[in-house]
Amino acid sequence: MTALSALLVRDMRLAIRVGGGALMGVLFFLIVVTLVPFAVGPDLVQLRRIGPAILWLGALLACLLTLDRLLAADHEDGSLDLILMGGTPLELSLLAKAVAHWITTGLPLVIATPLLGLLLDLEPLAIGAVALTLLAGTPALTCIGLIGAALSVALRRGGLLLPVLILPLTVPVLIFGVAASNAAVAGPLSFGAPFMILCALTLGSLVLGPFAAAAALRHGLE
């Protein structure tokens, strides 16, 4: 357990310090949300209607942006090999890395959501719903992304490949995240059902992600 917590603390420290780029995702999120009104027009009624979708899409892209650093930096300086050879099960180590990555990149997105929701003129209820669904859904994005990061870590052109591999797999998370947000505001359906399924997707990917990523690393780096 100490090895895992040490790994967790180390990853978070590295992300916060210079060159870690923890806040790069939030900055990107802000820019994407700022760009949307330029594309669809400054009509507040329309922005309010598609606001949850914009926030979810922006968060998805921001998650994607930071994913290639999840394992690549450790691969470059050799510490990934140490993790592979260490006594701790690789699945658990990867889960710890994913948790650290989510705390430094996913959680800031959730915290920034209310502010960006104000820019899109969302009601307080909608802002709360989007923030809550992002809180429940972004861990799934990180864990699915972990698989892509593990598959592409040793590749020279992995950065471009990762979104191609990952984005089709994130379709269910996006669907249920936006569905739950919209249901909370106006939808004929209840907020509970899609939100529960979103949580189920997160729990499922928490199991699947580390195992698939560990298998990919073991086969890919030997």
Binding site: I147, L151, S152, A154, L155, R157, G158, L161, V164, L165, L167, P168, L169, V171, P172, I175, F176, A179, G187, L189, P194, I197, L201, G204, L208, A212, A215, A216, H219, G220
Partner: protein, 245 residues
């Protein structure tokens, strides 16, 4: 055990060399019979007219679009679990075929949709999930084309294929949900009544023909891949004559 006998690439090459002409002939025969049934025997639909003919191309392609991913998943298990030497060859050569069948299913469906629904594309649950399937095929192909070493690429693609196989039902299910939220099921009621034998028989013959076409092309692509790897090995040997000798 036929599978273990075929594990030797040389034996696989000699067996397929004998089998392939017969398979190709059977494919041609099945297509001839199927197309004859489609054009001469199957009646025009009373509502859709002659455009119902598209169905005989569309439906087998859609079945194969899903079937080929199943073949790739089995090959992936062969790669990861049994280290079967031909499994990653099978997986690699199946991916472009699967993408082609999926693309044909989308294309024919789109051409069929234009006269029937009045639009080339509808964000219907079924269409959307097939589109996602197509994107995943392209992802697997992209992964194969990015990694230089075939053995490493094979294992990475196998993991991606299996993750995809787990995710495909989830994607299908969630897209169904998404569609029922936004759009009532009024546009697409193609299934309608149960299929009459005069339509069903040509459809099954055409499905058999496309299935044979896939097996033929797949075996031929696997042969090409094995030969390509041998050529690659020869190049590497030439580059390092001291180690090779």
């Amino acid at each position: 055990m036929a599978l273990i006998d075929l594990a030797n690439p040389t034996r696989f090459l000699s067996v397929t060399e004998r089998v392939l002409p017969w398979l190709a002939a059977a494919t041609a025969l099945a297509f001839a019979a199927g197309l004859y049934l489609v054009w001469a025997v199957a009646p025009d639909d009373y509502q859709q007219g002659a455009t119902v003919t598209i169905m005989f191309i569309h439906v087998p392609n859609a079945w194969l679009a899903m079937g080929v991913w199943t073949v790739m998943s089995i090959a992936s298990i062969g790669t990861l679990v049994w280290r079967h030497p031909l499994a990653d060859v099978a997986g690699k050569s199946a991916a472009p075929l699967g993408a082609a069948f999926t693309f044909l299913a989308l294309l024919t469906g789109s051409l069929w949709g234009r006269p029937m629904w009045g639009t080339y594309w509808v964000w219907d649950a079924r269409l959307t999930s097939v589109l996602v399937l197509f994107l995943m095929y392209l992802g697997v192909i992209a992964l194969w084309r990015t990694v230089d070493d075939p053995a490493r690429a094979g294992r990475a693609a196998a993991i991606l294929t299996l993750v995809g196989a787990i995710n495909l039902p989830v994607i299908k299910f969630s897209v169904d949900w998404w569609n029922t939220l936004h759009q009532p099921a009024s546009v697409l009621r193609v299934g309608g009544p149960a299929i009459h034998p005069s339509i069903l028989t040509p459809l099954l013959v055409m499905a058999l023909a496309f299935g044979l076409l896939f097996v033929t092309l797949h075996l031929a692509a696997m042969r090409n891949e094995i030969l390509r790897r041998r050529v690659r090995a020869m190049w590497l040997l030439q580059a390092h004559p001291a180690q090779g000798a």
